[in-house]
């Protein structure tokens, strides 16, 4: 988590207000909102800082272990060790299902073509290593996100699914024929 990252949201690149603390002890070194790793979250919560806390999770953590903390942090960051490791998508889905309403961040070398999927699974933003961002600037992410406009799957973020749109269209048609 020490690599320099840039932060990408649906509207493009934004400033990152969050700092990263490797341990609870390091929290005293950073000002403002800070993200701590899962191993340090108990100690960090015990410190009762005034600034918001974020929680960084490995992608293989069990949701049951995470759930107790979800009401106590403002941000959850999920690690993507590689763009091809899709565990983070399922973890995000489970974190949202557990009721987390704060900021959900994907942290790691994702690629622009995954932006829409990350958002659909409940992420709000991607913290991207600078080296990847140099090749794939935020404009590419915004553009890549919009290429495929619809999806078939229901129950994901990002607009009503094709299946639901079909149903609505059929209902509207039936309505029209009654009138």
């Amino acid at each position: 988590m020490t690599t320099t990252t840039i932060l990408i949201r649906p509207e493009g690149q934004v400033a990152d207000e969050w700092s990263v603390a490797a341990t609870a002890a390091d929290l005293s070194l950073v000002e403002g909102p800070a993200i701590v790793p899962f191993e340090a979250i108990d100690a960090a919560l015990a410190e009762r800082r005034n600034a918001p806390l974020g929680l960084h999770l490995p992608n293989h953590v069990a949701i049951d272990a995470v759930e107790p903390y979800l009401t106590q942090v403002a941000l959850v960051s999920v690690a993507f060790p590689a763009f091809s490791d899709g565990r983070g998508f399922s973890l995000a889905k489970r974190i949202r299902r557990a009721g987390f309403t704060g900021t959900l961040r994907a942290t790691g070398p994702l690629i622009a073509d995954q932006f829409a999927d990350a958002l659909a699974c409940g992420f709000d933003e991607v913290a991207l290593p600078e080296a990847v961002a140099e090749r794939q600037p935020a404009e590419q992410w915004v553009e890549a996100r919009g290429i495929v406009r619809d999806h078939y799957q229901s129950g994901y973020e990002g607009g009503t699914s094709i299946l639901e749109q079909r149903r609505a269209a059929a209902a509207a048609k039936a309505e029209g024929s009654h009138a």
Binding site: D113, D117, R149
Partner: protein, 561 residues
């Protein structure tokens, strides 16, 4: 058959634009080679031994004549005048250029086709029974379910970066022609024993490859309406927990095996209990909307048997033989389904020229309600032929070299492309099939031997399904030469079984002789109407091992002399 509506059309066009953009970004360096590779694979594009290879999805193996003509056009314009049907009911082009692929995808989209998820670590093309909608033993046409899964699995936001590839097969019949027990998920449509309600049996964790396994029943009865939510639960457990440390242990079969059947089921059910089913499942009306496309075509009312066909068969032994071997009983009186073999003696299994594709499209349009099927044994099917028309169909097939009467016989061999094309292959596969085919070319001999599916893979990944061949052949490299391991007793049906080795690996030129030796054992040992695989089951492996060993020793002696 299914027709795209405005949503499907827009979706596939968007996907083509997306791939075009990915190619552009690869060429300008925005995407690294490591990043682009899975993206091109998820669109069916491989880099093989000699060139790129594009795998086109043929969802559940159903095509119409317009689509086949377009596939022929692509073969002519962008390939070398032919294409190859695969063991997963798809179609491959062996020589496309990367720069042409976006244009090829546009041509596919013009006829409601695509190459989405025909490779990569995602949910692959859904396969099904080639006799869907035809077979008498069918509870329900499995293509309705398969189409629903095709849509649900396409560009799934959560399940496109799985630990490994994921294959789903659906059958609606009692006799399993879709090999559901050797798929990551196998779905059998059945009636509830007590309520008679139609639902699904869900089998998980089958597969071939390096570690072949027969799938386990995870749910013995799932109500139809709950399908997508249940699939989501299985996939979420797999995506979260499947191994990613070793690609050879990353398939769901290994997760099921290492977790244990009971525990795996418990985890799936726990996930299923947590998710909000109604928000995931197909909304009311959607299944009915899809099902309407698979309504039976307009059949004529005909007598059970056609007098014209009987008369023609009586006077034409070749026609008689073709119908006997390649005919499949149709549920509608007066109709028949015909398997069209792409296994002419000495030919490349599954290959078809653009001229043959066009001729076949004409035949399907005129004589089979404009519909054709691709089988997982790399053949085609004309599903709805009027028995009265069979003599004409036979003549038309014959004129195009497509009337080989060997469906299910020893020369109807499944073979992966092997080292002649494939970058992963360790040995050649097609020339082995050709040599065996020539060895057993004699019609009478083939007929005497009867049903004997031979399946050949050119590497351990088992695209040629060798584990479930009555005789299976696996090509490997041993000390710098190609070496072939022979198994017997494999079966892909509802009685799924994995073949067992009969002895040490042998050289390529010994394979036809070894197969002859195994066939001799069978002909000697068989009782009554036993098929090869039945005899292996009853008599055991020993006589086959002995026959094989005798052949190997004899061959060794000959070489020494």
């Amino acid at each position: 058959m299914y027709r795209y509506d405005e949503f499907d059309e827009r979706f596939v066009r968007d996907r083509v634009r997306q791939f075009r953009s990915q190619v552009e970004r690869r060429l300008d360096g925005s995407l690294s080679d490591d990043e682009f590779k899975p993206l091109r694979l998820k669109n069916g594009l491989y880099l093989q031994l000699h060139a790129y290879m594009l795998r086109v999805a043929v969802p559940y193996g159903t095509l119409d004549s317009r689509q086949l003509r377009q596939l022929a056009l692509i073969a002519e314009k962008y390939d070398k005048g032919y294409a190859h049907f695969t063991t997963r009911q798809n179609l491959q082009y062996n020589w496309p250029k990367l720069k042409d692929v976006p244009d090829i995808l546009d041509l596919l989209a013009d006829v409601e086709m695509h190459a989405i998820q025909t490779s990569g670590n995602c949910i692959r093309n859904v396969t099904s029974d080639q006799f869907a909608g035809v077979a008498k033993d069918e509870v329900e046409d499995p293509r309705v379910t398969a189409e629903l899964i095709r849509q649900w699995s396409s560009l799934h936001p959560e399940f496109v970066w799985l630990p490994r590839k994921f294959k789903i097969a659906v059958t609606g019949a009692e006799h399993d022609r879709a090999a559901i027990k050797v798929h990551d998920i196998g779905i059998r449509i059945l009636r509830h024993a007590e309520t008679n309600e139609v639902g699904y049996e869900i089998v998980v964790g089958g597969g071939l490859g390096r570690t072949p396994m027969i799938g386990k029943v995870v749910r013995s009865f799932l109500p139809k309406a709950e399908l997508l939510a249940y699939l989501e639960a299985i996939l979420r457990v797999y995506n979260a927990e499947g191994r990613r440390d070793n690609k050879f242990k990353a398939r769901v079969k290994i997760l099921v095996h290492e977790t244990g059947e009971e525990e795996f089921r418990a985890r799936v059910e726990a996930e299923y209990a947590k998710l909000n089913g109604p928000t995931v499942n197909a909304p009311e009306g959607e299944v009915e909307r899809i099902a309407a496309y698979f309504a039976p075509p307009a059949y004529e009312t005909l007598p059970e048997r056609s007098q014209a066909l009987e008369t023609a068969r009586a006077s034409d032994p070749a026609l008689d033989r073709f119908v006997e071997q390649n005919g499949f009983a149709h549920k509608v009186p007066g109709y028949i389904a015909l398997t069209v073999s792409l296994k002419g003696i000495g030919e490349v299994p599954g290959d078809m020229t653009d001229a043959q594709m066009r001729a076949f499209a004409d035949i399907a349009e005129r004589y089979s309600k404009d519909e054709l099927r691709v089988t997982h044994s790399q053949n085609l099917v004309l599903p709805h032929v009027k028995q009265d028309d069979v003599p004409e169909v036979f003549a038309a097939l014959k004129a195009n070299g497509l009337a080989t009467a060997n469906a299910g016989l020893i020369t109807d061999i499944i073979a992966c492309p092997g080292l002649d094309y494939c970058a992963l292959a360790t040995a050649k596969s097609i020339p082995i099939a050709q040599a065996i085919s020539k060895t057993f070319a004699d019609d009478d001999r083939q007929r005497e031997i009867g049903e004997l599916p031979i399946k050949i893979s050119g590497c351990i990944n088992a695209c040629g399904h060798h584990h479930v061949g009555a005789i299976g052949i696996l090509g490997l490299e041993k000390s710098g030469v190609e070496n072939y391991q022979i198994t017997v007793g494999g079966d892909a049906s509802e009685n799924a079984a994995l073949g067992e080795r009969v002895g040490p690996g042998i050289d390529a030129d010994q394979v036809p002789g070894a197969v002859e030796a195994l066939v001799s054992v069978y002909l000697r040992e068989r009782q009554g109407s036993e098929r090869f695989v039945d005899t292996v089951r009853r008599a055991g492996l020993d006589p086959f091992k002995a026959g094989f060993q005798a052949f190997v020793s004899g061959a060794g002696q000959e070489a020494a002399e």
